[in-house]
């Protein structure tokens, strides 16, 4: 059974189709890339997976559970990085990470500390005062600290410097070794090429192609 399944997903805002008839099947242990230009509907698809939006048509399932009905249940084994970087500004990075851990019922913060070290994050300052890249790291730690089986990342490397981007790619490959299912959107082909098994390309709300990464030459051709 597919870990993440999107069936004929359509979302209409007024007269505008944000996504139209999107179908995706992501298997266990797969790293799946989601490419597309800005406004193609990548984030909208992901918001459906997180249960933020009610589909106009179609359904999404994670591990066989309906994303809209069993949202909270699903979150127990899913890690999520939102595309928009937003936190509770009055907290420090550490307070926020601890707060989210508590909301998850997670008492063991060793993984979070390991991740902070790996991504070279000093989270003692107020989030409000942090740079975009630092905030992105806080988000990544929140997505990975509970060792989720499935990770959904919306443009994970935006704001990160090239060095940390490379580290991030290594990290994703390590997670893949562990058997984590990863679904990540991006508009950067390089990071997708280096990490993903398969890739779907979205344009103007429609899936243009779903290919194994081995055929990335033709993806490049399609994408440009």
């Amino acid at each position: 059974m597919a870990m993440i399944e999107v069936n004929n997903l359509t979302k209409k805002f007024g007269d505008f189709y944000s996504v139209q008839n999107v179908d995706l099947q992501i298997e266990k242990g797969e790293v799946f890339g989601f490419l597309g230009p800005n406004g193609a509907g990548k984030s909208t698809t992901i918001r459906h997976l997180m249960g933020f939006l009610q589909p106009t048509q179609g359904q999404c399932f994670i591990n066989g559970l309906d994303c809209r009905q069993s949202t909270a249940e699903i979150q127990k084994f899913v890690g999520y990085l939102p595309g928009e970087i937003a936190f509770i500004d009055k907290m420090t990075g550490q307070q926020f990470i601890k707060f989210i851990a508590q909301m998850r019922g997670l008492n063991d913060l060793t993984r979070a500390h390991e991740l902070m070290q790996y991504f070279e994050l000093n989270a003692t300052g107020l989030i409000k005062k942090m740079s975009k890249g630092m905030k992105q790291k806080v988000g990544l730690i929140c997505a990975f600290m509970h060792n989720p089986e499935i990770v959904i990342l919306d443009e994970p490397t935006s704001g990160l410097d090239p060095l940390i981007q490379t580290k991030f790619i290594d990290y994703i490959l390590a997670e893949k070794e562990k058997g984590t299912t990863i679904f990540m959107s991006s508009h950067m082909i390089e990071e997708i090429e280096k990490t993903c098994d398969r890739v779907a390309i979205l344009n103007a709300g429609k899936i243009v192609a779903t290919e194994a990464i081995a055929d990335s030459r033709c993806i490049n051709a399609l994408y440009h």
Binding site: Q75, I85, A86, M103
Partner: protein, 241 residues
């Protein structure tokens, strides 16, 4: 918590001021109404000065700020995404926030009531009709419960923080102005049917007469419906996080 403290802090000097003023006016009142009515006078004085304006408007400001912050604040800046991405249902999140809002109002009003009773006790022992004063404050709580329900509903259902602030501030202020106009009497008095503040009538509450009971009931039902609707809307709505 910060809001409560700051508001109680703002409220405190006001309170002692009114009570000081009371000391000055006391001799006149005594001669006008005789000794036996002094108990009534103190509570009436309090009800006009505090429950006509101060205790309507200050908690309103507190409610508007808190209600907007508790829901729309997180939705608008996007941090709600992190909260929903934890294994907590939307119902649990919104219910917690609603509970916190109601509890805050309750604490705020309890503190102000206790301060009022305490100060009255120190300055004018035995002159405050305690049961009438408590009924008055219960009435005030129900009024603010209803208004906070409305503000919370707006906070849960608006598309952004600006709209949310506009509606949650605008309508209660409009209601208050209508109330003020209808208080002026004459043909304007009919306006009282168009404002929620008419359901809070200090003189009726203090007299503890039967019409004040259904008015309290009405406020409670309005508040409860608003909160229930707010929770329902938030659980069902699309969130662009």
């Amino acid at each position: 918590m910060l809001y409560i403290i700051s508001i109680v802090y703002m409220y405190n000097p006001e309170m002692s001021n009114t009570l000081n003023k009371l000391t000055e006016t006391m001799p006149e009142l005594m001669s006008a109404f005789g000794m036996s009515n002094i108990g009534n006078s103190l509570i009436e004085f309090l009800s006009t000065y505090l429950y006509g304006f101060l205790l309507l408007v200050l908690p309103l400001v507190f409610i508007i700020m808190l209600a907007n912050k508790l829901m729309m604040g997180y939705i608008d800046n996007g941090s709600m995404a992190y909260l929903i991405a934890t294994p907590n249902t939307r119902f649990k999140i919104v219910f917690t926030q609603a509970f916190f809002l109601v509890a805050s109002i309750f604490i705020l009003l309890t503190v102000t009531t206790l301060i009022a009773i305490l100060f009255s006790g120190i300055l004018f022992p035995n002159e405050l009709d305690l049961s009438a004063f408590l009924t008055l404050n219960i009435g005030l709580f129900f009024l603010h419960f209803a208004i906070s329900g409305y503000c919370f509903l707006v906070s849960c259902s608006s598309k952004d923080l600006r709209t949310s602030y506009a509606y949650s501030t605008g309508i209660p202020i409009l209601f208050y102005l209508i109330q003020a106009l209808s208080n002026m009497g004459g043909s304007l008095e009919k306006l009282k049917y168009f404002t929620i503040y008419s359901l809070f009538a200090p003189e009726k509450l203090m007299a503890q007469n039967s019409s004040s009971i259904w008015m309290l009931g009405a406020l409670f039902v309005i508040g409860l419906l608003c909160y229930m609707l707010a929770i329902h809307v938030f659980v069902k709505r699309d969130l662009h996080l």
